[in-house]
């Protein structure tokens, strides 16, 4: 689960990390009111969970409340990479002297949390990593003792900053690590961390991704999920316990197992088609869950064919077949479907589907090829 910028920054503030004064606005009038209360120049920032908001025109300065209202009016309702802006953050503008980067991530290879810092802040850290990897400094944190001050000093001196800021930086780095651990984050970034004209350090932007597997420990964080950011399909899938990712293609897929689901998408592509989604029904899915999955697939108007690829182990093919029929009983559709069911109870599954007059296949390649042809409107048997 990803937090919006304003949510991330409010969480940072709880761990002693300085953030700009500001507030959320959902109308231009709100934005004027916030700007008036703050006084002086403000920055108006679209709250959407996507990178490149600035380049897309979703972040703008305003000199006074009047301009704040006008600017907010332009940003609210914008479409940024497919997401509609429904909230803006109105922050007091900062006098930026220098921008650095500070982030905490799970370092998979080291199996530890790493803290990363770079004197090249304010821009996409991936660009820095690609262009000047030596400008990204990194320390790995031993879980037995947590982040040590010497590690924050290694980052600090490595960036070559003015020693006057060493305490500020150390406190912010410790706050970020504590925030990361306490909220079970998988990513927590301050980019940029700004050194201001009046000699302070402040988190001008924030990003936090939470570990979904640990949300049970954080009901307070789970409760602030921003449902604006989910499509209806994504919400339905989440509620049904399905792993679902919408894509731009035409062939809907329903598969048991994440690796096999990815492989199925890849094979559709390999045979010239394009997958409409990733969908993993998980292990041992019951008919009801399968039906929910099919309804979600069919609700995508781009879908021109559906491919069922089930390799039954714990999952029973007959149960999947029953779920498919359940969904087809409510949703009338003319979309062609290809079923490839192998493994546990495959015979029973095929018999159940016989009534639905579906295309069938024995191998994954055969199934993918049939689905690609069907989506292209070609007759297949």
């Amino acid at each position: 689960m990803k937090l919006q910028e304003y949510q991330a920054k409010r969480l940072f503030a709880q761990y002693g990390i300085p953030i700009p004064q500001g507030n959320i606005a959902i109308t231009p009038e709100d934005a004027r009111a916030v700007a008036k209360e703050l006084g002086g120049r403000v920055v108006i920032k679209s709250q959407v969970l996507v990178g490149g908001r600035g380049k897309a025109g979703g972040i703008k300065l305003a000199q006074d409340p009047d301009e704040a209202e006008i600017v907010a009016g332009k940003i609210l309702g914008m479409d940024i990479k497919g997401l509609i802006v429904r909230k803006v953050l109105v922050d007091r503008a900062i006098d930026i002297q220098k921008e650095i980067y500070l982030g905490a991530v799970v370092d998979r290879a080291a199996r530890r949390v790493s803290l990363m810092a770079s004197s090249e802040g304010g821009i996409d850290i991936e660009e820095v990593a690609a262009r000047t990897p030596e400008k990204i400094l990194r320390v790995q944190i031993d879980p037995a003792v947590g982040l040590q001050d010497y590690q924050t000093r290694q980052l600090f001196f490595g960036m070559g900053l003015d020693p006057a800021y060493i305490r500020n930086f150390g406190a912010i780095a410790q706050g970020l690590y504590k925030c990361f651990v306490a909220s079970d984050a998988s990513l927590a970034e301050i980019n940029p961390l700004v050194i201001t004209g009046d000699q302070k350090m402040i988190a001008a932007d924030g990003k936090i991704d939470l570990d979904d597997n640990a949300l049970f420990r954080h009901p307070d964080l789970a409760a602030i999920r921003d449902s604006d950011e989910e499509t209806d399909s994504e919400r339905l899938a989440r509620e049904a316990g399905l792993s679902y990712v919408k894509l731009d293609g035409e062939i809907g897929c329903m598969v048991n197992g994440a690796g096999l689901a990815m492989a199925t998408m890849d094979i559709i592509k390999f045979f010239g088609g394009s997958p409409a989604n990733f969908l993993d029904i998980g292990g041992g899915a019951q008919a009801e869950k399968v039906a929910a999955a099919l309804r979600i697939i069919l609700s995508d108007p781009n879908v021109k064919a559906v491919l069922f690829n089930i390799f039954g182990g714990i999952t029973r093919c007959d149960e999947v077949a029953r779920g498919i029929l359940t969904a087809l009983a409510d949703v009338k559709t003319s979309v062609p479907m290809v079923a490839r069911l192998v493994g546990t109870n495959e015979e029973e599954g095929r018999q159940i589907l016989a009534s639905a007059h579906m295309l069938t296949a024995l191998t994954l390649s055969e199934a993918a090829q049939k689905a690609v042809k069907a989506a292209a409107g070609e007759m297949v048997a």
């Binding site: 990513l187 640990a214 894509l247 994440a258 690796g259 990815m262 998408m265 990733f278």
Partner: protein
């Protein structure tokens, strides 16, 4: 021969009285696995599929000589279960459980490294040495005895590949599912090293997916340390960045972890990468002939 598990494996099932634990215990017993003990706190004295249940792992080990443990407990209890097995000095632990918080795994791995215990998983299908033992949830009938070692981050995709091999007459020494989580106990390289040393394994199949850099590191290891041929498959070529593809570990983030990079790394060291799972048996025959 084989790696990690064989007919001498004496298995303890943690969470044996749960729905999954009971179901798979029966399956494993039916396959011929020597399941010697089960453990569920407070359920001492029960039996599941003829297997005695104990209150603690220490007690189970003491009474039965279990030397391997498999864990079927819910995600919130799994870190504790892993550490209990390690504390009882079980040298090999397989954790099937999906959905363990990543910071819990960071802490658990720090302890396991310290005490020198091997963990397979979590979020994995376990492992099978065909004809000897099945320790996990893989369907039994897809396997056959033969010269191929297999290691994979996936579950059903593994079954697909194993089944395709078995149908082509290519049996397996051991099939290992290392799991789809970002932080786990055993890496591809750990398994490649063991397969390289296993006399019966002639060729290795590696099934990777997007996320992390374990495949890239494996390519380097194959180049530097392996004499046996390897064939690879990478799932997720069509996956978009920033989206978690089911597995917690299957995510392209920060510009790394793409399938293209992984395929490139394998190609660069002469490891053929299959386009579809069904191509794998053919590639295997090719590299085995080329030896």
């Amino acid at each position: 021969m084989s790696i990690l598990v064989n007919k001498n494996t004496r298995l303890l099932v943690q969470g044996i009285t749960g729905r999954e634990g009971e179901f798979h215990t029966k399956q494993m017993v039916a396959y011929g696995t020597r399941v010697v003990a089960g453990m569920t706190p407070g359920k001492k004295g029960l039996e599941v599929a003829g297997v005695p249940v104990f209150n603690t792992v220490r007690e189970a080990v003491k009474e039965t000589g279990a030397n391997t443990s498999i864990i079927y407990v819910p995600a919130r209890a799994a870190p504790d279960a892993i550490l209990e097995a390690a504390d009882a000095e079980i040298p090999l632990i397989i954790c099937i459980t999906e959905g363990i918080a990543v910071q819990d795994m960071i802490n658990v791995c720090a302890v396991l490294d310290w005490v020198g215990v091997r963990l397979i998983g979590p979020n994995c299908p376990g492992l099978t040495t065909p004809g000897e033992t099945k320790v996990g949830i893989m369907p039994a009938q897809i396997h056959a005895v033969g010269p191929v070692g297999l290691v994979s981050r996936s579950g059903t995709l593994t079954y697909e590949v194993v089944w395709a091999m078995t149908q082509q007459g290519l049996g397996q020494t051991t099939c290992v599912g290392i799991g789809g989580d970002p932080v786990n106990g055993t890496s591809f390289i750990d398994c490649l090293r063991m397969f390289e040393q296993d006399p019966k394994t002639e060729v290795v199949v590696l099934i990777g997916e997007i996320g992390g850099v374990d495949e890239e590191k494996s390519a380097q290891f194959i180049k530097d340390k392996m004499s046996k041929p390897v064939v690879a498959f990478i799932a997720g070529q069509t996956a978009p960045p920033g989206k978690r593809m089911g597995h917690a570990g299957a995510i392209i983030s920060g510009g790394t972890g793409t399938a293209a990079e992984k395929i490139k790394a394998f190609n660069a060291v002469g490891v053929p990468v299959a386009n579809t799972p069904e191509e794998i048996p053919g590639l295997l025959e090719l590299v085995m002939r080329g030896k």
